[in-house]
């Protein structure tokens, strides 16, 4: 549920450790994009409270849709970690995550 008005550009997320990429539709979170692409991205609450979907944004611009500081430590925030279920894309990105085996 991202904002009042739909943004209408989709972006691509590249998984650095898996040599795979997927499209994130406008209005979708990074996690939703991954799930729509059938990727086994770890997830639990999907509302930004558990930290299960944590990933590291390596390159590109994203927007944190909620305050991550309740779940991520200051070091993680500085290192570019994000909660995929609450992250929208502002450009194509590269991201690191441990997919479920």
């Amino acid at each position: 549920m991202f904002g009042l008005f739909k943004k209408n550009k989709s972006f691509t997320a590249k998984l650095v450790d898996y040599n795979q990429e997927f499209v994130v539709e406008p209005g979708d979170s990074l996690l939703t994009g991954a799930l729509k692409a059938g990727l086994p991205w770890p997830k639990k609450c999907q509302v930004g409270s558990c930290g299960t979907c944590k990933c590291k944004i390596i390159d590109g611009k994203t927007r944190a849709e909620i305050d991550f500081s309740y779940v991520l430590s200051p070091d993680e925030l500085n290192d570019g970690y994000a909660l995929a279920c609450q992250t929208s894309l502002k450009s194509d990105i590269s991201v690191a995550v441990n997919l479920i085996d």
Partner: protein, 373 residues
């Protein structure tokens, strides 16, 4: 046509809230409009208890819900609730300064305001699952009822701990709605307090910081307090206490009905079976699908108009009807026991059955037909 129908059906609360406000300004018997409408809703809800609809999608799987329209309505509810409080304050002002408002009119105005401020909390809930501006509007709506802590506790605790004793918003079996209201309200506030404390410590900031959302949340309620003190002095404060008590009672009653007695083993994923669905026609439309708790708790990011029937346990009656039952705890327990027994038999995992069994043994309320472990 279908798009019109799907979107307009969710306007019952905005329309009725405006009617309530109009009644407050008309005064006299009309000040009771909100109470009358609440009673009418109980009848409509009970009359439609057997009508259960599904979410509406076109042949391509796209929802008929218009996001922009629904968001404008939800955001508009914030100023509407401010006007609701102002209308009551206006009655208080007349009552205390010129005695042109009779006592029975004032009582009707206070009850009407409390009920509709409470029902308006559904928008605070819906927007709590939104980002940035939506989340802020949610906080502001909840602050009008002195419950701004809800927004954080709901997302960061309830959605995570649901069905477990760590979640104050989940009522265990045997608890009544009155006791639940206290425990849940203060439990969630304490959670929000601890959440901020931890966050600020981790970020090396003082507890008394502008980043403390728990403190800020209560500060957002100050304008309401000032308004009621100014308009009615002591009577104004008493009126606000009644309004907040009613609205928070309704909020906690929704939490109570949504999860009463359901059990989830700590650490296990939240599933559809961990929430009660109340999805008859009137409840669905009036409460903007908040009764589709099963789907909501598994897909927390989903727009309310896309939530659907997912096979969650179902009380088979709407919120208004069930709310009446919760007011008389023995009747509520009797009504829900057969559904809990069914849940224990058909949906609970072995571990969940064991937790239920322990509860009944501890409380000596073991029902005869329960638990085929």
């Amino acid at each position: 046509m279908k798009t019109f129908y799907v979107n307009v059906r969710y306007l019952i609360v905005p329309v009725m809230t405006v009617l309530t406000i109009y009644g407050l300004f008309l005064g006299g018997i009309y000040a009771w409009t909100g109470v009358f409408l609440f009673g009418l809703n109980i009848i409509l809800d009970t009359a439609t208890k057997n009508i259960h609809l599904r979410a509406d999608f076109d042949e391509n799987g796209n929802s008929f819900g218009i996001k922009t329209f629904q968001y404008i309505v939800m955001y508009l509810m914030f100023p509407i609730f401010i006007v609701l409080q102002c209308a009551l304050a206006w009655n208080l002002y007349q009552f205390t300064t010129s005695s042109t408002v009779a006592v029975e009119t004032l009582v009707g105005a206070i009850l009407s305001t409390g009920l509709w401020a409470g029902l308006g909390i559904i928008y605070g809930h819906e927007l709590s699952h939104n980002k940035r501006e939506g989340f802020s509007v949610s906080r502001a709506i909840m602050a009008l009822s002195g419950a701004s802590h809800f927004t954080y506790a709901h997302v960061y605790q309830h959605h995570l701990e649901l069905g477990h004793q760590n979640d104050p918003a989940t009522a265990p079996r045997g608890r009544n709605v009155y006791w639940h209201t206290w425990l849940s309200h203060f439990g969630q506030s304490k959670f929000s307090f601890d959440l901020e404390k931890q966050k600020l410590e981790r970020h090396n900031k003082s507890f008394f910081s502008l980043d403390n959302k728990w403190i800020l949340g209560y500060l957002y309620s100050l304008p309401s307090i000032i308004l009621f003190v100014w308009s009615g002095g002591i009577i104004g404060i008493l009126a606000l206490v009644v309004v907040w008590s009613i609205s928070n009672f309704l909020l906690e009653a929704l939490n109570f009905m949504g999860h009463y007695g359901l059990i989830r083993e700590a650490g296990k994923p939240v599933e559809h079976k961990h929430s009660w669905d109340n999805d008859n026609l009137f409840t669905s439309w009036f409460f903007i699908e908040i009764g589709r708790q099963g789907d909501h708790h598994v897909r927390g990011e989903t727009y309310f108009w896309e939530l659907d029937e997912v096979g969650a346990p179902n009380y088979e009656i709407g919120y208004f009807t069930l709310f009446l039952l919760t007011l008389i705890p023995p009747v509520f327990r009797k009504y829900t026991q057969k559904y809990l027994d069914e849940w224990d038999r058909n949906q609970a995992s072995e571990a969940e059955k064991q937790i239920a069994k322990d509860y009944y043994e501890d409380t000596k309320h073991l029902s005869n037909n329960i638990l085929v472990v």
